[in-house]
């Protein structure tokens, strides 16, 4: 069978799958080194307390225990730093590697035990005792701010952004609508818990950390600053990231430091109970939002004051989540004037950071709840209100006087109205509207809803890639990207194959290895396919030129007369004539090329979620009967992978909308610490969903026209389902808080 010419745009099988299916993946826990020690973290069981003393004598005396550390043992290690420059005001709120004087959440690392085997380490950790003075916990970001510590308040930042004349718009509006909306705390909860394994080589004076993910190069830089040593990070298989894994946590620093000090490999694997109280949590916002509208339902101004529950410390992201909430809040709509104020507040809960569609899941819920409320207030159709407010195709690129992730918000391309038409037709919105109305008249609680959103993808500024072919004809791509299970290797190989003219299955893809390429920004912010993909494309085109030049000399012709098909260099005019393999053209030394890609602005894809749901009037359970995600991705490298990302993102969004919540009691004790109380959706809850991927608005910002796909499925789930629940129970505006658990829905039914 001949190898096809084009690889971009085809749903080819993944390169990653065979290894995974045979159980041969190498996840963090699957890696071991001879003579390794095992680390166990001793965690706080109090939400807020002053440490008076720690007694580790009994733990230290246990046979097989190598060492026990408390904060006294690591005084030279600074708190965990921000990845990007952050507001100076956040500095005092960074997390120390081990709690120093004060404990601020249940699960906070207070001490660590190193032992010869993991069972011993866990048993000895139970013997570490504390003398604590309990303090009152800060429980809610909506309460008046308290003290983080003496003289330092619990609200380090109030973020503000505004444009236009909001006040005038509200003063003269036809109507003003205000909502008070809450998004519960939930998070990624990947199926693989976190893990880290560090080694130290005294000859090279080098620390190596295995179990890295997401942003290995950036984390290397942070760890080198903290440890003042050369550090390399290595990413293996990663059991799901979704924003949470791959940030620097205390455990990553501790295994590195221990490997350095002990001269032995040190391994740490998190258990599930730890994960649910130690890994970053997310969402957790309350919004008091209002819009001013004219008589036709056009939004004149949007004003949103919100309260962000940051938890106990400010971690690597700084204030990124509320910044994103604010910058992306207007979504696909015109919104001529805007004001937002975010209260960034600390509480005594697990620290918060990014989770798939950070800030957008929250913001889309708020914005789309407002649009529904406008429709209700003015007696207009929910779809029509949205249509009247959309930014038009002719206005693209559309610059908003807002910024997010350090870049100005410039919507690069899009035809929002066209996608709305396509989504309505595909979903059969009008028919579904009548059909559900008829069923409601017969007594069922069934309804439809929608959420419109804009995503942001392809965060720059720069990615580079190295592509080589050796004398055996093996093609290798070295990137600074990262693979979290999204199909990174397959996509990079497809892009390279397209540019080079070789079969994608013959290409090996390196990612997440800081010793193989100087820089990289990893895989987050739906950036990898856009940024790393375009860098690989550039590098592969450069290598193609070199191969053709080399072949032209050998074949005594001009490079312009040659083409590469299936790894063979052939004459364009006489494809059946003499040919040369790329292996021969590469010569004994092989050939390689670099490529880079730079952007100043992100690419903004967009989409619509439409849901049809049924409420069980006896139990309050919500069943999703039909669901559509329509999404313009600019250009899909592997459509099936894009669909997989969307379905997976939807499943997570559904969890946060209906089931998942990190609850805490009045003492700050976490109540969601096993899979029995933190409910992620299973096969029973995930419906068949329809996906419409369009390519109507390729990004003008990169040669391949690509926009990212990682977060579209999550973004507007709460928005669409809330809208559908309102419709089903005949109570417009009823849903003001997610997750809409059966208990909350029963309360709404009885209101």
């Amino acid at each position: 069978m001949s190898v096809p010419r084009h690889f971009i745009g085809r749903s080819v099988p993944r390169l990653e799958d065979e290894v995974l299916l045979k159980g041969s993946g190498r996840f963090a826990a699957d890696i071991s080194f001879p003579n390794q020690l095992y680390m166990r973290v001793v965690r706080s069981s109090n939400a807020h307390a002053r440490i008076i003393s720690i007694d580790s004598v009994a733990a230290c005396a246990t046979p097989g225990v190598f060492a026990v550390w408390t904060s006294d043992d690591i005084q030279d290690i600074p708190p965990i730093d921000f990845r990007d420059p952050a507001a100076e005001a956040l500095g005092p709120y960074r997390q120390p590697v081990l709690a120093n004087k004060t404990i601020r959440y249940v699960g906070e690392p207070i001490a660590v035990v190193f032992a010869e085997d993991p069972y011993l380490a866990e048993d000895a950790a139970e013997l570490v005792e504390f003398n604590l003075e309990e303090l009152l916990p800060l429980r809610s970001a909506s309460d008046q701010p308290g003290e983080f510590e003496e003289g330092i308040g619990s609200e380090p930042l109030v973020l503000k952004s505004a444009y236009g004349d909001c006040q005038a718009a509200f003063d003269t509006a036809y109507a003003v609508i205000e909502l008070d909306l809450t998004i519960g705390r939930h998070s990624a909860v990947p199926l693989e818990t976190r893990g880290a394994l560090a080694t130290y080589d005294p000859q090279k004076d080098l620390i190596e950390l295995f179990g890295a993910a997401k942003v290995p190069h950036r984390n290397r830089n942070t760890l080198m600053r903290m440890l003042k040593r050369e550090v390399h990070l290595h990413e293996g298989h990663v059991g799901g990231g979704f924003g949470v894994r791959g940030e620097i946590y205390p455990e990553d620093v501790l295994v590195c430091l221990a490997a350095l000090r002990f001269g032995r490999p040190v391994k740490w694997i998190e258990d599930r109970y730890e994960h649910l109280m130690a890994a970053n949590q997310s969402r957790g916002q309350r919004h008091v939002a209002k819009v001013a509208v004219d008589a036709e339902g056009r939004v004149l101004a949007l004003d949103d004051e919100f309260f962000h529950d940051q938890g106990a410390y400010v971690r690597t992201h700084g204030a990124r989540v509320p910044e994103l909430t604010m910058g992306m809040l207007p979504g696909p709509y015109q919104i001529p004037s805007f004001r937002s104020e975010a209260h960034f507040r600390l509480t005594n809960k697990t620290p918060a950071a990014t989770y798939r569609a950070p800030g957008r899941f929250e913001g889309s819920f708020v914005r789309e709840r407002l649009m529904d409320a406008v429709a209700e207030k003015l007696g207009l159709d929910r779809v029509e209100v949205r249509r009247r407010n959309l930014v038009s195709k002719e206005e693209m690129p559309f610059a908003r006087p807002l910024s997010t992730l350090g870049t100005e918000v410039v919507l690069d391309s899009g035809d929002y109205a066209l996608l709305l038409d396509k989504a309505m037709e595909r979903f059969g919105w009008t028919e579904a509207s009548s059909a559900t109305r008829r069923r409601r008249m017969k007594g069922e609680s069934v309804g439809i809803g929608l959420g419109f959103f804009v995503e942001k993808t392809g965060l720059g500024p720069t990615d580079s890639a190295h592509v080589s072919v050796n004398r055996s004809g093996v093609v290798e791509i070295i990137t600074g990207g990262a693979s979290l299970g999204q199909g990174f290797e397959t996509v990079m190989a497809q892009i390279c194959a397209e540019a080079l003219g070789v079969d994608y299955t013959l290409i090996s893809v390196i990612h997440g290895q800081t010793d193989r390429i100087a820089n990289g920004i990893g895989a987050h912010a739906s950036r990898a396919t856009v940024m790393t993909g375009n860098a690989v494309y550039a590098a592969a085109l450069n290598l193609r030129t070199k191969l053709l030049d080399s072949a032209a000399a050998l074949m005594q012709t001009k490079a312009a007369m040659l083409d590469i098909v299936d790894g063979q260099i052939i004459s364009k005019e006489n494809a059946a004539g003499p040919s040369l393999s790329i292996a021969v053209a590469a010569g004994d030394e092989g050939l390689s090329a670099e490529g880079a890609f730079h952007v100043d602005h992100m690419a903004y894809p967009y989409g619509i979620h439409m849901a049809q749901i049924r409420v069980d009037q006896g139990t309050g359970a919500v069943t999703v009967e039909r669901y559509l995600v329509a999404y313009d991705v600019g250009r899909a490298v592997n459509p099936k992978l894009v669909e997989g990302q969307i379905v997976g993102g939807f499943a997570q969004g559904l969890g946060g909308t209906l089931f998942e919540e990190f609850l805490y009691d009045d003492q700050g004790q976490p109540l969601s610490v096993t899979f029995a109380d933190y409910l992620i959706p299973t096969l029973s809850e995930i419906p068949e969903i329809d996906i419409l991927v369009t390519e109507d608005a390729p990004s003008p910002l990169n040669p391949l026209g690509i926009k990212g796909a990682g977060e579209a499925g999550t973004n507007a789930v709460a928005a669409a389902i809330a809208s559908a629940i309102d419709d089903a129970i005949g109570k417009p505006g009823a849903v003001t808080k997610i997750p809409v658990t059966p208990q909350r829905l029963m309360a709404l039914l009885q209101d």
Binding site: E16, D17, L21, A29, G239, G644, F650, T682
Partner: protein, 157 residues
Amino acid sequence: MSERFVLRVNAQERAVIVEPDTPLLYVLRNDLGLDGPKFGCGLSQCGACSVLRDGIEIRSCVTPISAVSGSEIITSEGLGSEPKSKALQRAFIAEQVPQCGYCISGMMIAASELLERNPKPSTDEIKTAMNGHLCRCGAHLRIIRAITRAADESEPA
């Protein structure tokens, strides 16, 4: 006190000397070098650790080694040597099921057990069989399709 246990794992007789209450998962991973089964929760709530014991799926994280002494154990590494599980592997690739792949070992075990006792399962039967397996990448729908595809492929002509 450690004791000696003998079991057949992936068609080979293996002996280990461990405490009787050691979870089978740790014996497989730490003593027998089989990393296919994964730790997900340690409480039998996710299915990442599933293996076959005498053809029946069990959760190895909550199964003490003493309870499976003398049993025939199959892990995901042991699948793929006969036509049915080979068809399952092909179907999982064709349907592009795995994303991160962490749940896949347990999924393959549960799916192969299902097809062994029910060669032509309905969608509802697949859902019932696979429901106790968590996947955070949201590959659920593709898992159903892959199992159906494998069943169709294995059907005698």
